[in-house]
């Protein structure tokens, strides 16, 4: 696995862990498909949870994310969210 692939996998895992926590589900990252809707039968990601999600992502990935990372954007799936975080940490989704 190249460093870029490893970083993408790390971001993908972190995002999935946090959306599982936010949805109050006991699921491992690999149990959540990339195409899983953020607000569907499985996940319930409440857009009011920005502060908690951002501080946890920053800690897990050791980065500083912009305040408006999640605002003004439309997310449908886990992959959408992962893509935005990848861009913010300087990786191509």
């Amino acid at each position: 696995m190249t460093p870029t692939q490893a970083r993408r996998a790390e971001v993908n895992d972190a995002v999935k862990r946090i959306v599982a926590l936010e949805s109050r589900l006991s699921l491992a990252p690999h149990e959540i498909p990339d195409a899983e809707p953020l607000n569907g039968d499985l996940l319930k990601v409440n857009s009011l949870g920005f502060l908690g999600m951002l501080v946890r992502l920053e800690d897990e990935l050791d980065v500083t994310l912009p305040d408006d990372l999640f605002t003004g954007r439309t997310f449908h799936t886990v992959a959408d969210l992962t893509g935005v975080v990848l861009l913010a940490v300087g990786e191509q989704p």
Binding site: S23, K44, L48, G49, F50, L51, G52, V55, D68, T71
Partner: protein, 418 residues
Amino acid sequence: MVTEILAATSAARDTAPAPGDERYDSYCTELARQLTANWDAVLAANAEDIALARQRGLGEPLIDRLQLGYQHLAPLLELAEQTRKALPAVTASSPGTPAFGQSVVRRKPKPLGVLLMIYEARPTVTVEGALLAVAVGNAVILRGGSEIAATNAKLGELAANAARAAGLPEGMVSVLTDGDRRLVRELLKRHDAIDALIPRGSASLIDYCRTASTIPVIASGGGVNHLYVDSSADPAVAARIAVDSKLTEPTACNTLEMVLAHQDIAAQVVTELLALGEEFELRLDPALLVPGEQVSELSARDDGREFLDRSLGVRPVADLAQATAHIRQHGSKHTEGIVSEDPLVVQEFLDTVDAAALVVNGSLRLHDGPTMGLGPEISISTGRLHTRGPVDLSALLTYSWVIEGHGTVRGKERGSAS
């Protein structure tokens, strides 16, 4: 900035009058007065936040939660009045009890000290935090969502004005409107200056506070709540209780997620639930599926899940033991209920199930401070220390033991005291 805020709040904590002082009564009244006189200014500040939120593309459901209107004022004034009325009882010392020799001991309420409240959106929480925490003598730092920074700044100004008018020290209420998350991280490390942390909001925020800080946390965790329906229960009564437990506020922490119905009457409970004709999504165990009805099948991942919508699951169980095992494995120790006409089964349920509240033959939504007659609450705690259930005014206090010796000495036992 953190240093200045903590210096001010520490000074306020050290100079604030004791709980029960009449200045706290005045503070409640003054805060109500400030809110009433300046509500238009609060709404103007809120309109700034809303305009910015729309500009940044926030969705309408979120904007709805950020927005204040005239309809929000009356409940806040009522809260201030209820808090004021509750103060004498909650701040009174306990009666003295005779102890060793001539000594008499009693508990004298003391504030927890400096409280840090971190929460997301909902500007009314700013008023609740400023009111309840300070009314019993705490100094409070309020860090709300950055989406309502202007609203919070205005509400913080009004609370500070109220404290000043009541004769309380400066620094009793500080509102942190800077959205920089580094400030939050810095505050979470200051266990030397902050006595308790009260997060309110998303699961990730509460989990972050619990794991990233050594400051004691009063956490309001989510509610994965169950209702066990015993074979002795009236299925119609059980269905009515289940529906009330779910639909009166489907995303609340005290809402019902899963009915565990005794297998002898589980099918009847489902029939009664469907007969009520309410708008909810019934998710049934495969053994209970009803052909032709608008229901869906429960999956294994639905066990232990907080649906956060109008979904309600039903699983059959062989007996109370299986129900309690399920609750132990999947529950969040928030609110658990039983419907039963058999007092022995009820007693067994109360003995074996552990949660902040256990409800017998009633709606899980009864787990609420004002509804329980406990007065105003700031959240519901699922922790074990130091408070559990509704975090009311008494939960924002600790106490000192007062030992009135009347000249009593330990004598020969003196050396054994540590």
